[in-house]
């Protein structure tokens, strides 16, 4: 598995593990609202799709964790749930918000008013009303349930003046509209259960308002959904969708060639080059909002078992100079990545900071050696490993998820280049659960360095910039970076509506974080997706992915090939 979307990290201390990307969807929404806290009118484009009997078949490497949107942690599950449930607003193929269950949304001051669409029913035939929305928002906000709870910290109340209107009140004007991310749940099904029951609910027969109804789940193997003939929107051509779990990349690629599946949303680079040559397939290498990085444990809590030498910025910078990012992009990613640097990706346009000249901390062993020599770390006893004055070796542990072969290769390459400047890296691989629980152990993090990634997928800097905030320790902050100056700048840019001024602040933040070397961003990755030409057409290749993106529209707009 090449990408990290499926790897989980905690969203907040109380709620354990959360999909890294599902969190980030919210950020996209948030940015959209900062830019335009606007009224969005319903404007459905004319439909061209004709309902068929064909199934949209996806192959991936991980099973979904649960069908319960209030406890889900994997992006796979969010992908499936996004077709069963609707949100009030949703992302189109231009990655901009569009009306969904809400025909219109008006944000005024600290309230957001949603006017709901007519004629929406739940999959079981019950009518959808504003009560369902109020119930869902209340449930999440008052019990801090699930990934989306973090967007309800200023929540006061939700009211339903009539069956078609919902008024949500917050303490302060909200940059971010939770209506964009919260799957609306049916009150008539869930309200009879206690919060405890809801948190334990498998929800194995989910009822939503979405374009597809749940069909079947075979744990560890597959999930499938069937077209909802009574859906309020334009009916998708696909009679259903299925997601099948493959344990091996080669088998999955073979299944795609044989036409057993229609699309693979995450193809590893070495497999991808093989698929590119296939004339029966379309293989897209898409820009993404993802990077993979080397994270350095900066925790200073008493229980931290991280190597204290890493708290020396000089050592971290030396590691940065030892890292050969170009080599990693070329070799570990077979060229399907570009050398990294800042915490923001180049796809974020003018927000992206690119260090130049002397500011560059990359592939410069001489500088690494000079830094370490000056700091008194010298190799004395002939093994080539530098030591502190009191004899502690510059030897660190480095971990990566065993099945993420690109991260494993990155670690191997880094190990070799670090050795050249006298830093020893002891490499071990772990499974993804162990990775999450080890790295995010706030009280006693027992690790030194990891290789992992973030998938922003947002066309706004706020999500990725927010990762290393002090307030995100226990949340997304995977290296326990804490810098009050950085935190202050973050708050500044979040309220700065002048683009040029905001860019200036964002640049300053990136530069600051880059120099501190808590992250050594190794590469900006390409999203590699392949689909069979005999399967589905009219698939739009958007940044972030045809599917497995924060828009579900390719599922809805795909048409059978040759039709």
């Amino acid at each position: 598995m090449v990408s990290m979307q499926t790897s989980s990290g905690p969203s907040d201390a109380q709620h354990g593990l959360v999909s890294r990307r599902s969190v980030l969807r919210a950020a996209l929404l948030s940015s959209a609202f900062i830019a335009a806290p606007a009224l969005l009118a319903a404007c459905a484009p004319p439909t061209t799709t004709v309902a068929t009997n064909k199934i949209f078949r996806v192959g991936w490497k991980s099973d979904i964790d649960t069908l319960n949107p209030l406890t889900t942690v994997t992006t796979e599950a969010v992908e499936v749930q996004s077709l069963i449930y609707d949100t009030l607003m949703a992302y189109g193929l231009d990655l901009k918000p569009e009306p969904s269950l809400a025909a219109s949304t008006v944000a005024a001051g600290a309230t957001i008013t949603y006017t709901l669409r007519d004629g929406v029913t739940w999959h079981d035939g019950t009518a959808f009303t504003s009560d369902d929305v109020v119930y869902t928002f209340d449930l999440i906000a008052k019990n801090s349930l699930g990934v989306n709870a973090q967007y309800f910290s200023d929540y006061v109340s939700a009211a339903a003046p009539d069956a078609k209107t919902v008024v949500v009140t917050f303490k302060r004007p909200q940059a971010f509209d939770p209506g964009l991310v919260v799957p609306i749940m049916p009150k008539h099904i869930w309200s009879s259960q206690s919060v405890d029951q809801i948190q334990k609910a498998a929800n194995d027969k989910p009822i939503g308002t979405g374009p597809f109804t749940f069909k079947e789940r075979k744990q560890g193997q597959s999930v499938s959904v069937t077209r909802n003939e009574k859906w309020w929107g334009d009916k998708p051509a696909a009679a259903g969708a299925s997601w099948t779990v493959y344990t091996n990349d080669d088998l999955m690629a073979q299944a795609l060639k044989n036409g057993e599946i229609d699309i693979i949303p995450q193809v590893p680079p070495t497999v991808f080059t093989g698929l590119q040559g296939e004339t029966t397939l379309t293989s897209e290498s898409l820009d993404s909002f993802s990077f993979h990085h080397i994270g350095i444990n900066l925790s200073q809590v008493p229980g931290s078992k991280g190597n204290p030498l890493l708290l020396d910025k000089g050592v971290r910078q030396a590691l940065g100079y030892a890292l050969d990012r170009k080599q990693i992009a070329e070799i570990a990613y077979a060229g399907f990545a570009s050398p990294g640097g800042s915490i923001l990706t180049p796809s974020l346009g003018d927000f992206y900071y690119e260090p130049t000249g002397d500011a560059v901390i990359d592939n410069n062993p001489e500088k690494a050696n000079a830094l370490l020599d000056a700091a008194g770390y010298t190799a004395k006893d002939g093994d080539g490993i530098r030591q502190t004055k009191d004899g502690k070796p510059l030897a660190f542990r480095i971990i990566a998820i065993s099945t993420t072969s690109t991260d494993v290769r990155t670690a191997q390459l880094f190990q070799a280049t670090a050795a050249k400047v006298g830093i020893k890296l002891d490499f071990a691989t772990v499974d993804s659960d162990t990775m999450a629980s080890t790295v995010y152990n706030v009280e006693a993090p027992d690790w030194d360095i990891f290789v992992w990634g973030w998938d922003s997928g947002v066309n706004d800097p706020c999500y990725l910039l927010g990762v290393p905030l002090t307030s995100q320790i226990g949340g997304n902050n995977d290296v326990f970076y804490s810098n009050p100056a950085y935190d202050a700048l973050y708050d500044q840019q979040a309220t700065e509506l002048d683009h040029a001024k905001r860019v200036a602040i964002v640049m300053q933040m990136q530069q600051m974080f880059y120099e501190d070397c808590g992250y050594l961003v190794a590469v900006y990755i390409k999203k590699l997706q392949s689909y069979g030409n005999a399967g589905w057409a009219n698939l739009t290749a958007v940044p972030g992915g045809i599917i497995f993106n924060f828009t579900r529209d390719n599922y809805l707009k795909a048409t059978p090939a040759g039709s």
């Binding site: 070495t270 093989g274 070329e330 071990a428």
Partner: protein, 300 residues
């Protein structure tokens, strides 16, 4: 008053000295000879490999064009997913695979032979206790246990050697015990005992030399098993990621999609390497068994 125990011991090792003729017998055995030649080749590869490496096995490629390249005059066995020379890796892998196999066997043999001799010699409750333990390890499914232990204790060479060694001794213990049981009934043992020889001395002088032959034959077979075990653990990703072994080469070939791409030069050499070395040890081991046990002769 002292007895000359040496004289008695001398009687104990009355069997004609066969050590030198064993190798000759082995050479005369067609399959044994094949195994011996294969073993010599792998040993040579493991010992001389690092001296004659065409490339540093850790030297990665220059760019994405050097990844998974088919064999060429420069790279005799092509390159892997990091652009490293597969031939150099293959030679380096021989070293680790053989090293782990031999070290684990050493541990396994020491435990197995020790338990077997003590159990067979003392009989009674000692035997009962040790044999229940042996039976336990014999029926425990070794591979899942190795996987579990490997996952718990981490991935370094020493742990892997210990895990494999500690889980592969029961067969040796069983065989050595039955031989010891028969040896301890021999008259010369009773004589040594009546002359006041200590148990330790009897084991050392009268029992051990006679089970040695058996241990050697069995050990050679155990090596094959240990090499396979290392390859298995490494293949499923529990090997030492810092070191190249044939098993880990197969692992990386598998996860990097080399098989789907048809990069045979990457997965075939380590696979054949394992096959041939295991075959070699098995051939030699069985040849030894035939030499040891004349009833088996003529079967090959």
């Amino acid at each position: 008053m002292t007895f000359d125990l040496g004289a008695i011991d001398g009687g104990a090792v009355a069997a004609p000295p066969r050590r030198t003729s064993n190798l000759r017998l082995l050479w005369r055995d067609r399959l044994g000879r094949t195994g011996l030649i294969l073993l010599a080749i792998s040993a040579l590869m493991a010992i001389l490999g690092p001296i004659v490496f065409p490339f540093d096995p850790a030297q990665v490629g220059a760019n994405s064009a050097s990844i998974l390249q088919p064999p060429s005059l420069t790279y005799w066995l092509g390159t892997d997913e990091l652009g490293r020379d597969v031939f150099s890796e293959f030679l380096a892998g021989a070293r680790i695979s053989l090293f782990v196999g031999l070290m684990a066997t050493l541990i396994s043999t020491i435990i197995g032979a020790g338990v077997g001799v003590i159990s067979g010699y003392f009989m009674g409750p000692v035997d009962g206790g040790l044999m229940s333990m042996t039976d336990f390890f014999l029926v425990v499914p070794a591979l899942p246990l190795m996987i579990a232990l490997g996952a718990i204790f981490g991935q370094n060479l020493l742990i892997i050697i210990l895990v494999i060694g500690f889980l592969s001794w029961p067969r040796t213990a069983r065989i050595v015990r039955s031989q010891t049981l028969s040896l301890r009934q021999r008259q010369y043992v009773a004589r040594a005992k009546s002359l006041g020889a200590s148990d330790f001395r009897i084991i050392r002088k009268n029992i051990a030399p006679h089970v040695m032959q058996l241990i050697v034959a069995n050990t050679i077979l155990v090596v094959a098993g240990c090499i396979l075990a290392e390859a298995t653990l490494s293949f499923i990703g529990l090997g030492d990621p810092d070191r190249i072994s044939w098993g880990s080469m197969l692992h990386f070939a598998f996860v990097s999609g080399a098989i789907g791409r048809g990069a045979w030069w990457y997965f075939l050499p380590p696979g054949l390497g394992i096959l041939l070395v295991v075959l070699a040890f098995t051939l030699v081991g069985h040849a030894f068994e035939r030499i040891d046990n004349p009833r088996l002769r003529g079967s090959a």
